[in-house]
Symmetry: C2
């Protein structure tokens, strides 16, 4: 875990905070390309009434638009929760270089998501895990 | 394979034809809810410069918008090619009842996509398989 990872994950957490304020499951994502943040997004599934409106999906689309490229070369996705199957599949198509996530997704731990990613994509988990997990726990506690 | 399956897959093939006309990989999808077509879409990955703009993803979003529901209850997705990992993951979140596809996706045959779907989702393949495969073969032959 580098200092850079921590700094960028803090910005992804700020995105998750925006989702929390909208009563959305608090997940945030950013995409960094050559040390520049080119996309910021947060979960909008309820707001958009679209179960595919995950933070990562929106970040991929925004980053592609910015780079004018379907492929996210030299890019790193920072996301506060381990990507789901859908988002792992989207990362495959985007051929993103790196994925750094915060909290581990325990519900879908039985699915080997590394096997779903492009062979050139590196993945690293547990950056600011405690902070990322706590934001999710807070949300689900409130709902109960 | 019912007569209904064939009829709806023909409409999905018409969508794939629209993608072909745009020089996109020709894949089409429709969503049927209680015998009514509520969404039609085709692959727009190149046009939108977005590797996640698969026919199914757009169809899910359009159907949710139409139904004003994140969940696609009483819905069937007809798609000309077996859904990829990303689209299978999106189908999981939408909890769609049925998926009917045409051609089998040989490249990703090693991934058990049934295992990625929601337990309540039924999946059936090979409807108008020849027609769906031929449209894809035609596209890739032209590209060579």
């Amino acid at each position: 875990m580098t200092k850079e990872d921590v700094n960028y994950m803090q910005i992804a957490l700020q995105e998750a905070e925006k989702a929390l304020e909208k009563d959305e499951i608090p997940i945030g994502a950013i995409i960094v390309c050559n040390n520049k943040i080119i996309a910021k997004a947060h979960n909008l599934s309820e707001t958009l009434c679209d179960s595919s409106a995950h933070a990562e999906m929106q970040a991929f689309t925004a980053a592609s638009l910015y780079l004018k490229s379907k492929y996210l070369k030299n890019c790193t996705l920072y996301v506060t929760l381990e990507p789901c199957v859908m988002c792992s599949g989207a990362a495959y198509w985007a051929q993103i270089d790196n994925i750094v996530f915060g909290a581990f997704d325990k519900k879908f731990a039985h699915i080997d998501k590394k096997a779903l990613l492009h062979p050139s994509t590196m993945i690293k988990g547990g950056v600011l895990e405690k902070e990322c997990s706590e934001m999710l726990s807070l949300f689900f506690q409130r709902k109960r």
